[in-house]
Structures are given as structure tokens and as C-alpha cells.
């Protein structure tokens, strides 16, 4: 079921004490949404989702765990980064498109300023040996972190309704085609992804 939710699975159920009967507090104005998303974006190093769950569900209690999971599972199905889709949907839930834009701005503006400032420093000093070395080291770690994302998600394929061998085959085929043969990704996504979705459709129709 979970296509890209490493954070959701291993997050402890910290909000279990909150009763469902209690109506959760809501933000009073769009700027509160902006402030909340800004705060969680700035705390999210290497992934905002676990922080978002903590801030929105456990701390501010704007959403229940069930609502958070619901939003996440829809955000995954849609194209675009999960957290951006979630921010839009959560903002939209409270204040329509104004809330959605407030959430998006809160999520992106401050981190964008920070990362662009770093990019400008890199453009200016990136050729200095120490800076260039540091960036090379960080680049190697970044590559490792991305590999690890894939590795950590692999066990979720066991819960996939499709046979594990087929899933593993599709993952490895995608890796070979896109990672090594460098075939344009649209072919892999539309071809392999399309075939897998079709197989999924047929199998889900047979098994209840």
C-alpha cells in the first residue's frame, strides 16, 4: 500500500492518548498555516514528512493520525513531491485555495532562500580546494542517502498485493533501464509502470 512513506511506518504512535471524540483545534487564519508549515520545513533535514506528522498531529492537533495517513496516501498517488501535495491538501481543508497557497509558501519560501544562498556561496567559492572537497564529500553522502531510501523502501514490497518476484523484477528492470542504460524515464514509467498497474488491476479484480 505504501509507495513512498518511510517516515509514516516507523513513526511511533505518539498521539494515541488524544481521544477521537474531542474535536481537534483548527488554525484560525491562513497565516497560522503558513507559520506552522514554515516551522516544520525548517526542522526537516533530509525529509519533512516525519516532522510534519509530529507538528500537525501530535503538537498542534489540527489532524488526527487517521486524517494524516489518508492525506499521505492520496498525496502519494498524485504526481509531485508527497509533502508538497500534503501541504496543499491540508491548507485546502481549512481555508480553500488561500490556505493551500499559505501552506505551500510556508513550506518552501524560507528553505528556498537558504538553499539558494548556499548555491550562491558554492558558485562563488566552489572552486576553492577545501570547499570543492567538502562538496564532493557531501555529494558522495547524498548519493548514499538516496540509495538508502530505495533500500529502506524495498521491504514494503512484501506487503504489495503483487507477487514479490514480479515486484523485485520490475524494480531491478527500472534500475537497469534508467540507472545504467540511461533510457528516458518516461519510457520506463509509462512502459514498466503501465504494465505493472495493468497487472495490479487484473489481480486485484480476481482476489477479494
Amino acid at each position: 500500500m505504501s509507495a513512498g512513506a518511510p517516515g509514516a511506518a516507523d513513526e511511533p504512535g505518539g498521539g494515541a492518548c488524544i481521544s477521537d471524540a474531542e474535536s481537534p483545534p483548527s488554525p484560525r487564519a491562513p497565516h497560522e498555516v503558513l507559520v506552522a508549515f514554515n516551522a516544520l520545513a525548517l526542522k526537516g533535514f533530509g525529509g519533512v514528512l516525519p516532522v510534519a506528522q509530529h507538528e500537525l498531529v501530535d503538537k498542534r492537533r489540527w489532524l488526527t493520525h487517521e486524517q494524516f495517513l489518508e492525506t499521505l496516501s492520496v498525496g502519494q498517488v498524485l504526481p509531485g513531491p508527497n509533502i508538497v501535495n500534503m501541504a496543499l491538501m491540508i491548507g485546502d481543508r481549512f481555508f480553500g485555495w488561500r490556505g493551500a497557497m499559505a501552506a505551500l509558501a510556508g513550506l518552501l519560501l524560507a528553505p528556498l532562500a537558504i538553499v539558494l544562498a548556499l548555491a550562491m556561496l558554492y558558485a562563488r567559492f566552489g572552486t576553492e580546494p577545501v570547499a570543492a572537497g567538502a562538496i564532493r564529500g557531501m555529494g558522495a553522502v547524498a548519493a548514499g542517502l538516496i540509495f538508502a531510501m530505495g533500500v529502506k523502501l524495498a521491504p514494503t514490497l512484501r506487503k504489495n498485493p503483487l507477487p514479490i518476484a514480479l515486484c523485485a523484477g520490475a524494480a531491478l528492470a527500472t534500475w537497469g533501464i534508467v540507472g545504467f542504460l540511461r533510457v528516458p524515464m518516461a519510457w520506463a514509467v509509462l512502459g514498466l509502470g503501465g504494465a505493472m498497474v495493468a497487472i495490479g488491476w487484473l489481480r486485484l479484480g480476481r482476489a477479494p
Binding site: I83, A140, F147, G150, A171, R182, P184, V197
Partner: protein, 175 residues
Amino acid sequence: MSSADWWALFAHFLAMSMLAVGGAVAVAPEIHRYVVEQRGWIDDTQFSAAIALAQASPGPNLLFVPVVGHAIAGLPGALVALAGILIPSTTLALTASRWGQKRRETRGVRAFVAGMAPVTIGLLLSAGTVLTAPLARQPVALLLVGVTVLLSAKTRIGPVWLIAAGAAVGAAGWV
């Protein structure tokens, strides 16, 4: 950059937005193929630096996209790339979320999630491969990649510490 180049840049990120089903990092191999291999706008080093800077900063990983745009064409490039990757998916998320919310247990949506999950994993491994390929002749860098995979997959150590360690190892001149 000619105006045709600007349109090509914008159009590329518009398309990437719709393909980014597994998050922005999943389309990193395709962005690399286009801006580094096909267009030659930036090189491997700049591309890896963009990913590294985004991972080292707070906020969503998708922010590597404006950094790539910045390396290609400065601040306007950053804004064009970010607008491109956001507009299609944002529009779709706002219009389709209520539709999807009601149908998430239906056969079509479940088939989509089940079928795309392995492809997403393949794309993440591809992104790692594309970033590692330029390091093929640098044993220390390859070791750093391998150690990061192990630590990140087997421990709960935060990515920011690993990035900091990588920066230290690199600044010391070992990579």
C-alpha cells in the same frame, strides 16, 4: 541562454512535475540525463553539488530543482525550474485530491499504488547510480557512498550528521 533554451528548461521541469510520482528525487536521473548529458548545461560536479546542497539544507528535497536551475542560469533559472516542477503537480493536487480521497480504496487507485511502488524503488536506485557513476575511479568516495548506505539503512542516525561527516572528509582532502 536563448529564449528557446528558457522554454526548453521550463518545459522540461513541467514534464518532470507530472512524472514525479515517487517524489522529486525519483526524477533526478531524468533531470540529469537532460541537463547534463543531452544539453550539457551543467556538468556532473554541479549536478551532484545541487543534490548535496539540497540534502544539507532544511526543507523538502525537491529544492534540489531550483539549485539545478541556479547552476544553469542564475536566480531566474532557479525560479523558472521551481515554477516548472510545481505548477502541474500543484494544480493537479488541488483539483484531484477530493476525487482521490473518495476513491483511494477503489481497484484503480490500489492497482496504481501497487504497480508504481516497485518502479519508484527502481528510480531511487537509479538516482543513486547516476550520482555515483562519476565517482567510479575514486575509491574513497565509493567507500563513503557505501558506508552512508549502511548507516542510513541500518541505524536511525540523522542524514544531516552524515552530510556533515561527508563535508568534513571532503574538506580534509580525502575524497
